[in-house]
Each structure stands twice: as structure tokens, then as C-alpha cells.
Symmetry: D2
Subunit: 296 residues, 4 copies
């Protein structure tokens, strides 16, 4: 990993160095960093980001369209084979767009084509904040937009993409709020203590393709997991199931149960809508009952 | 449907009439009813059933083995094509043994073969009390039995099959406890009232084949279903999911929710171990939390 | 108890008989029944009641005021000693107005005096729908009314009193909805079964006087009580605590607990606002947790 | 507050200095510190404490009895007037023994007298770990002990008292586990977020005297309290109610409620049995339901 930049260094660099360092914050569009250089110094990462977005807003319509057209299609295998920027490739991989089933791939192709036909530019989304399902849902909605409205949403998404890229490039004492967190806690209300050693599986649901196992872990002595289930990144918008293997846990504790047990795997299905937020999903559980909720 | 017999009529019938009427209570074995006729009168259906089981217990080992061998294999397509008793066909259909996937069919074949190789007689189970998964689980366990132990379990299962057949044939003021019930109740603890119009789906899970939709209904004004989800029959031993479509319900109520909602479909996964019992599974639910439990 | 009247008999009685039978439906005001007689026949008890209220609404202001003034003050010891109608006495006793502490009595005196000073007539309320606290609360609010508004509320309360009196006097196939119900259900989610033999106490809370034990019972084998905690009457508006003696119950079941136990008596405090409704308050409980809610 | 000692300083002090510094760890018994000085150095506070207890265990029966007799009676007004050690006075005050009602005082007198009559020495207990009720309960139990057994329990309690005194006197990198914590967390599962601004009252219950308000606070933006309800000391063994003022909270949020509301004050009654432990009691609550449990 290359050494990260600091905001101080960027503020005092030569304009050309500044522009070069941030050239890829916006896909194939170094002119944005080039113009933003003159607005320095920036007191925070958010100020820098906002200055770069302002450059786009104040650019000519042609330049704005050029920026949009510089982006690849989502999940486009031909473009991928021909080579994307390293940033685009990594982002699309995070969302699982490199592992689409044929059925999903067909849906993305169809969505992309319909979109490009209507708007004349590629469909752009900050994929690291999304799952396969939410991407398809969002483009189904955005396809109904008026062109000017859609250009606005596209620039907003480009801003979200740039935010994540800047946060990775630059060390700052004023970090951007880009990461969410997904955590859990299992309370055994039969014994009145945290449930330790409960096997957990986090599954990303998909309406069109296969569900994906995102995390597999177990609770520690405090009934929590040593790290969060998802952390250090946005929690992708979408639908999930969190599986708590309670049957095995209670069997190990020696609690009398039926055969098969009333509760074996407890699946909690939930939707994520705010990727930058801490979502805590506890389970209060006995062999015969459970409660779950959006905690804090 | 043919007119049902009464216990009174059976108690006073000629021995031959009695034997003929109950000939099929035990598969291809009218001798059991023939012998039991002399133990009349029976004060209850349970007494009649116990008398017939006693005939088996007191019969010669050869006759007992003959009774066992008179049964068809489970899920045997060849035997089915060749024709089973009407009772056997109906019973196997209830458990879905007529709609096995190829993978499931292969597992049943393998299980049946291993069983017959070890014990020399067909694998017998009261299938109306079971799901595909529980049948496979049970024979995996029973395959480890000693032969005498396994003959005992087999006769017990034949008794369970006969109990269901007798309960269908004979009207009685002392009915046998053969039916269970599966019910639910949805309380909207956001509004403090029963949740009406919640769409429900009951799904029988399968580890080896496809899950099956067992019931599809909606809650009434009291938050309950007009009939139970399963009633008037044993609730088959196995694993299920009950899906509560809460997202649609709260959207109709006009409650503000995220997009996607935190709770959309709430799946409650549970095991059934006692087919003759009332199992009540309520849901107390808000857009942000729920509680479920084995109720009464 | 004297034989109850029937609506049919009242519909066909001589006008004088009708008037005499219902003379006491409105305190010392037989003229209401006398006038309502000519509106017969009544298809339901509600129609009869509404016709009597209509008589009041159409009467002269003087007669209306006369009706109001014919009522006793609430909790007035002098009037009580001098003799109230049997109906008024019974109604006031139900609400516990015959057993006020000195402090409470002083508050009622003060409330009555202020009310009479402002409006010139006695404070009237259907006391069977109330507790001591809710009576004081309501008159504190009503004291701020305009006189015409207060006359309206007073006539409404007289209508509620008459409704209860008519429902007691007259047998009908179309009964008036005058009774509520308060019930509970204790589910032991540690054992996955109803909690039998749990001692229960229902306490009416009072801010000014002593709390009163209203009911003392225990759960049956189904975790419910044999009769409802309150039934066959309106459930008085007010604040209550329902005490569940869970420590004793779990000790009897032999569950290991701390000393003192985490849960001994579980008090559930709740308000009643709708006396004619069924209020169900279940408890789902382990030695370490519980859930309660407004059920149905 | 005088500067606290350190373990290092004590390990290297002259024997006389060491004995003087710890003279009051055991009531009027400097000889214990004097003898323990020769066992230095101590690697931890626990080692020091155990060494001092060992001195008592190895002392002659007369000295042991002398130590016991050097203690004051609990809640003895005459002794208090005559003057106790500052340590004893503070400890008894913490438990509220200086504010007993006359009825409670009479019970303590009676308990002390019966105890002294049977055992010939004062009743001793580490009162900072107790409430008025638990003290009376424990002496009712200990009164049935055999004398030798009771001497053992008394020495154990003297050890608990000394532990608290030593922990206050001495700074250590290896602190003794003397403090518990009582905390709460209010989750509004109607809104799916922490409940901020909920007024809370913690009440110590008493069977014989008046209940005492222990803490009065409100939840912060995270639904927790800024400090724990009880912390920095043992949580006294006893029975408590924690009151959550939910009616006011939901009214402020503008949620439609009945009059009176179904839930106004939610009292959670619980027992504390382990003073050195963290006891967490959350509330998940809507205007129509709540769940509480022993959390972690």
C-alpha cells in the first residue's frame, strides 16, 4: 500500500503536485483537481471534497457530461476485459459485480442498455454502498427520472464515489463519515447471561441470484463478536439474514430440548438503508422465544 | 366419502362384519381385526386400538414379520406404479413423497436399500406425522438399532398408522388424540392493536430438496387466521418457516419507514416435534423490533 | 333480585306501567320515561336509551336543570346519611366513595364546592366507570369548562348512568355494550409452557389515598385465570398495578436463582382509559427477563 | 482527602510506619497490621489483604474474639452518640442506618439483642454491601448458625470490611474488585432509536420502613445515563424499583395515546445479589409494550 497523503501536505504542495495526487478522485478527470487547487487551503477533508464538487457544478454542461461519460458501465464484462481504472475495478468487485450469475448479468445488461438508450450516458452509482439487488432497484427507479433530474442524481453519486476515494487517499484528523458498522449481541435470557460461542452467519440476500455468505463468526464471552460483522466500510444497502445457531448453543449448555428443537437456527432478516450508520441487531433468546430489534 | 362406522355398531356387529370393516387398519393383515373381535366390547377407540396392538404382540414371530413385510417401502416408485393400498398411497402423498426431487428420491432409495439390507424388511414409518427431512433423519438413526429394538420401533409405527386409520374410519364420542394444530397471532405493538391483513406464508423446509409452501393466508381483524395454519391432522415433525409480510402491513398503515425497510418479511424458523399438540407462534412486532415465542 | 323486564314486555305495556318501570333510570325524574313511552316500540335497548336522552334534549332548559339538580353530590357524607336512591348509593360504593381516607374526602369536598360555586349544580359523573383518582382528575378539567359546555358533559354522563341502569333492569337480545374485561396470561418462556399457579394481585393505585387490592387470584394450568380479573362491569378508568409473584413460581419449578432473586414480584403498571373494552395484559417471563404488552 | 498510600511505599516502609498506616483496616486492632508487616513485600493488594486475614486466622481464639468484640453494633444509637471510628460511622451511614424509621430501629435493636444473647458478641456485617432489608434478612438467617460457624461468617465479613477500607487507603495497579455498577438503556422500539430525555428514578425498597430515592436522572441522546445509576462502590444487596417515565417521553414525541396513557411510569422491580458485578437493566419500549432483562 502506498503511503497516504496528508491534508497539510496537499494544502502546501505545488498546484501540479496537488492535481496529480488527486487526479483519480474523479474517473479520468484530472481537470477537477487541477481547478480545485486554487481554492486551497482546506480546513478539512469535507471542505476539499465540497470544493471539488463545486468545480463540477460550475463547469460547462459539456465538461459535466464528459465527466459522466468517462465512467464505465456497471458490471460490463467487455469494458472490464478491456480494462477499467484500478479504482473502478475494486469498487465493482466489492459489490460482487464480478461474480454475477448469468441471470443477474442479463438483468444488469438489460438495465444498462435501457438506461443508456434513455439518457445517453452510462449508469453510475457508488457501488460500494450497495448490493446487487439495491443497484437493480435503484436503476429501475432512476430510469423514470427526467434527464436533468437524472444528471443531478448522477453527479451526486459521483460525489459519493469521490468521497470514498479521497478518504482512502488522504489521512486526516477530520475524517469523512464514510464507514458504517453492523454488530450484534446475543443475550441468553434463559440463563441471564451473555451467550458465548454462538455460531453466526451473515448472508446477503439476492432476489435474482444466489445469496452470499458475507461473514461467519461466533460470539465471544460477552455475547458479542470480536470485530463487528461489517466495519471499516459502508454497510451496503440491501437485504440480509443474520443466522444465530441457537440449537447447538443450548445443546452445549445442556438445556433439555425437543427433537427437533423448537429453535435451531434463528434467522433475522433485515434491510440496510443507511450505509454510514451503526446498525446493532441484538438477540434476546431462550430455547422457546426470542426478541430482536434495531438497537444502538 | 363413505359413511363412518360407530364404535357401538362395531361392538355389536357379527365377528365377520367387524373383521371386514377393520381389515385395512393394518396393511394387508385382516387377521388382526379377526382376532381382536373376540375382545369386544370396547369402551373407547383407544381400547379397540390397544386390543389390536395386543394381538400383534401376542402373535408368533412369523406372523409379526409377515405384518411388517406386508408394508410397502417409503417413496418406492416401482411399488407405487404397481399399486399400493389406497391408504398407503394417500399417506405417502400427504408427506410429499410423491413429489420428491431427484436428489431426494436418490436419498430415499439409498436409505431404503441400506435399511432392507440390514433388517430384511421394509422401512416403516407413520408418514403423516413427518416431513421428508424428518423421515430421512429418523431412518439414519434407526439404521443403528439392534434388530429386536428395530422390530419394536417398527411395530410402534404400525400402531401409529393404525391409530390414524381407525380414527378416520370410526366415529366415536371418545376420539383418539391424533390431530395437532399450528396457529399464529400478530400483535402490532406500535399501534397497540391486533395486526389485520398481514400476509402469511408457511413453508416446510427441506435440506435435500425444495422447500414447499404449505399455507398462504392473511390475518383477520383479530390478528389471527380464520382457520389454523395446520389443523384437523397431525402437524408433521420437521422444520418450517412462517413468513410475516410486515413491510407491506406497516406501509399500508402509513408508518414512516426507511427504504428498504428495516423489517420487510419476518421469517420465524421453528421445529415441530409433537404432531398431536397445539403449537401457537405469535408475533409482537413494530417496524423496528419483534418478539416471537412458543405460546399456548 | 327482582325479575328483570324484557324489551318486548315494555314495548306492549300500558304507558303508565312503562313509565313506572323505568322511573328510576334517571334520578328522581320519572317524567323522562313518561314522555318516552309514546315513542314506542323500540327495536333495541339502544333505541330506548336514545329516545330517553332525546326527551331530555328536547325538554325546556328548566326541566333539564331540574334533572341535573336531582342528583346527589359525589361522596357527600351528609347526603348519604340523609339517604340517596338505592341506585346512587350502590354506584358510589362501587367506586369506593364510601371508603375514602380523610385526605381524599377533603379533596372531594373541595372539588364539589368549587364546582357547585361555579356552575350552580352538583358534579355528576358515571362513577361506575371511574376510580377515585380519575374522578378528581376529570372534575379538575371540567371545572375549566364554559357553563353550556359543562351542561352538555353533565347530560352525557347522566346518559351513561342511565345506560348502566337500563342494562340492569332490562333483559334484551340486543344488550348494550356496557361491560369491559381485564385479563392476563402468563407464559413461562424459560420452560416454553404456560405458567401455572402464579399468584396474582390487582391493585388500584391512588395518588391521594391508599391503594386498594381489587383482585387476588392465581393462574390455572393454561397460565390464565379462571375468571377475568375484572368482568361483568365496566373496567374503571384509572391506574393499576398487576403483580405477578414470579419468584415463588420459579422456586417451585426448581430453577436456580440468586438470593435475592433478580425477579421476585413483577409489577406491571398500566392505565385504563376505555371501560367497555377488553384489555388483555400478558406476561412472557423467565427468571431474568420479561415482556408485557397490550394484547387482544 | 489525605494523599493515598501506594503499595510500593508500604512494601518499603519501616515496620512501624506500615502498622500505623493500616492500623484502622481492622476495627481498633492495629496488631493485625503489625504482625502482617513481616510478610512483606506484597505483589498485589489482594496479597496484602490475604496476609492480614491470615494473621487473624493464626491468632489465638482470645485475640480473634477481641477483634470481633471491638466492633460496634449495627444501628446502635447509644454507641453512635458515644462515638464510633470514622470508618464505622461512614459505613453505617451509607446503608442508611442513620436514618432508620422508629419501626426499623426497633427491628434492628431486637435483632442485635437476640444475636448478642446467643453469640456473646456484636453482629457484624459489611454494611456497604447491603440495604436495610438485606441486613435484617441476613441476621435472621445467621441467628440459626452454630457458634463456630457464626464466628467464621463474622471473620469473613470483617475481611470484606477490611477489603473496602484497604482499597480506599491504597493506590494500586492491581486494584481489588470491590465496585459494582448498575446501568440502564432505554430503546424506543416505536421509533427505532434510543429514547433520549426519559426521566428515571431509582428507589431502594424497604419492607419495614420507607422506600428511599437513590438516584434521579434522565437518559442522554444514546438512551443511557451519563454516569451509571450506581457506580464506584458496591451495589447494595436488596430490592429496588427503577422507574421509567415513559408517558411524558412519548407525549413529547407527539405519539397519540389514550387518556390516561396505557404506560405512564414503567416500574421495573429487581433484586441485587452480587454487589461487585455490573448489572445492566435495559428497557425496550413502545406506548403499548415493553421488554426488560438482565443485560450485559
Amino acid at each position: 500500500m502506498k503511503p497516504r497523503l496528508t491534508l497539510d501536505a496537499l494544502n502546501t504542495a505545488l498546484p501540479g503536485e496537488f492535481a496529480a495526487a488527486l487526479a483519480n478522485a474523479f474517473e479520468h478527470s484530472p481537470w477537477i483537481a487541477g481547478t480545485a487547487a486554487s481554492a486551497r487551503p482546506f480546513a478539512s477533508l469535507a471542505e476539499l471534497r465540497d470544493a471539488m464538487i463545486a468545480v463540477i457544478d460550475q463547469a460547462s454542461p459539456e465538461r459535466r457530461l464528459g465527466l459522466i461519460r468517462a465512467h464505465p458501465d456497471l458490471a460490463n464484462r467487455t469494458q472490464r476485459a478491456a480494462g477499467l481504472t484500478a479504482e473502478s475495478t475494486a469498487e465493482q468487485d466489492w459489490a460482487g459485480l464480478d461474480r454475477l450469475s448469468d441471470a443477474e448479468f442479463a438483468l444488469f445488461e438489460q438495465s444498462n442498455r435501457a438506461y443508456r438508450r434513455k439518457f445517453g450516458f452510462p449508469s453510475i452509482l457508488c457501488v460500494r454502498r450497495h448490493t446487487r439487488d439495491s443497484i437493480l432497484d435503484i436503476f429501475a427507479r432512476r430510469l423514470k427520472n427526467q434527464p436533468t433530474q437524472e444528471e443531478r442524481e448522477t453527479i451526486d453519486e459521483i460525489g459519493r464515489i469521490a468521497t470514498l476515494r479521497l478518504a482512502e487517499l488522504i489521512d486526516s484528523t477530520t475524517p469523512l463519515p464514510i464507514n458504517g458498522r453492523l454488530s450484534t449481541h446475543v443475550l441468553d435470557t434463559h440463563a441471564g447471561q451473555p451467550a458465548a460461542g454462538v455460531a453466526l452467519e451473515l448472508i446477503e440476500l439476492s432476489r435474482h441470484g444466489a445469496s452470499r455468505l458475507i461473514a461467519k463468526t461466533a460470539t465471544n464471552a460477552d455475547g458479542r463478536t470480536d470485530g463487528a460483522l461489517i466495519e471499516g466500510r459502508p454497510v451496503p444497502i440491501g437485504a440480509y439474514e443474520l443466522w444465530f445457531h441457537m440449537g447447538d448453543y443450548f445443546a452445549r449448555r445442556g438445556v433439555a430440548m425437543n427433537e427437533p428443537p423448537f429453535l435451531e437456527i434463528v434467522p433475522v432478516r433485515f434491510g440496510v438503508s443507511e450505509p454510514e450508520v451503526h446498525l446493532h441487531i441484538p438477540l434476546l433468546v431462550t430455547p422457546w422465544s426470542y426478541t430482536t430489534y434495531r438497537g444502538s
